[in-house]
């Protein structure tokens, strides 16, 4: 396999970034098409592994998987080129929109539209929870942890970072104790 140039990596990921609409998962079919089928920078098996891996690493899935693919092609510089490519289209679009949007929000129609849009966002979040639920809440321990954290979050103003840290620690203790008991 010929080593791709950094610019080529940047350009391909820029192109993928433009096509990314509505969440990180969309990147998988795009990577399959551009990186696996066209460019052959990685095999399909590797893509699936990278995807599984980037889900359990903190951060945005599309960004992580871009870093994996870029690193695979040209090590550290390739990873930098890939992440820059993914970021750039979002960055430019949002900057352009941010300027236009603030001018439009004075109109009643736009305000009403955003009233409806805000409800649509809640609906999108609920649908995401439904998807996440089947993948993450699959044991008595997970159920219990979920409800305890939920009540805690609704009743207090605890920081999300603390919640994530605590649940990681609790889970390690719980699983280790369960394993000891089994042995």
């Amino acid at each position: 396999m010929k080593k791709p140039s950094l610019f080529e990596i940047f350009y391909i990921f820029c192109f993928i970034g433009i096509q990314l609409l509505g969440g990180g998962y969309v990147i998988v079919p795009l990577l399959k098409k551009h990186i696996v089928d066209d460019k052959k920078w990685m095999s399909e098996d590797e893509l699936v592994n990278f995807f599984a891996m980037s889900q359990c690493i903190p951060g945005i899935i599309a960004g992580n998987i871009a870093v994996c693919a870029g690193y695979r092609a040209r090590k550290l510089l390739g990873a930098v080129a890939a992440i820059s490519g993914i970021i750039l289209p979002s960055f430019i679009t949002i900057l352009l929109l941010a300027n236009i949007l603030s001018k439009f929000t004075e109109y009643t129609y736009i305000q009403n539209a955003f009233g409806g849009i805000r409800i649509a966002v809640v609906v999108l979040i609920i649908i995401t929870i439904k998807d996440l639920w089947s993948k993450s809440i699959n044991s008595k321990f997970a159920y219990t942890l979920f409800f305890i954290i939920l009540v805690l979050l609704l009743a207090s103003n605890i920081s999300p970072a603390i919640v994530i840290l605590l649940s990681g620690i609790i889970s390690v203790i719980f699983c280790s104790v369960m394993r000891k008991l089994h042995d």
Binding site: G59, A98, F114, G115, I119, V123, S171
Partner: protein
Amino acid sequence: MIKLYLLLFYEFFKIGLFTIGGGYASIPFLYFLVTKYNWFTNDELTNMLAISNITPGPIGINMATYTGYTTAGITGAIISTLSIVLAPFIITVLFIKLFNKFQSCIYTDYIFKGLKPAACALLTSIAIKLLYQTITGENFSFIIPSNIDTKDLFIFLALIIPFSFFKKNPLITILTGAILGIIFKPF
């Protein structure tokens, strides 16, 4: 100004570090920023979220750019966008190098058994708080609300019932929300 830049760096670096399971997981962190700083209101944040959903690019990146720009201009946008990817970038590169070691380490598995329900609970609490706020116009409390906005409740039901059956399509959901808002809000 320098203090604001440092704050943006700190907050978005933290969001990148603690966001487990994709861009939507960063949403609870952003709502937490509303209570911590006066950078934007809940409504403004939800508007930003809608924009991030219907523009190209990962939602987390879009949100970082938007938040950074509205609080501290172009420099702010650059700082928050780079900060949100910094921690995951370093961790991903280390992870690739040590992949086999991590995979066989049982504790990694244990940690994620706890993090996934936590991420799910974080998102659920945000959904409940936002829904309560849209429909009653008040901040969330455990008390049953007295004044319910029937228009908003209707729009919510009109969106959630059909869209929970389809594959998630943010663009169509948000456009439908906008149309319902224009039609029903004035009454």
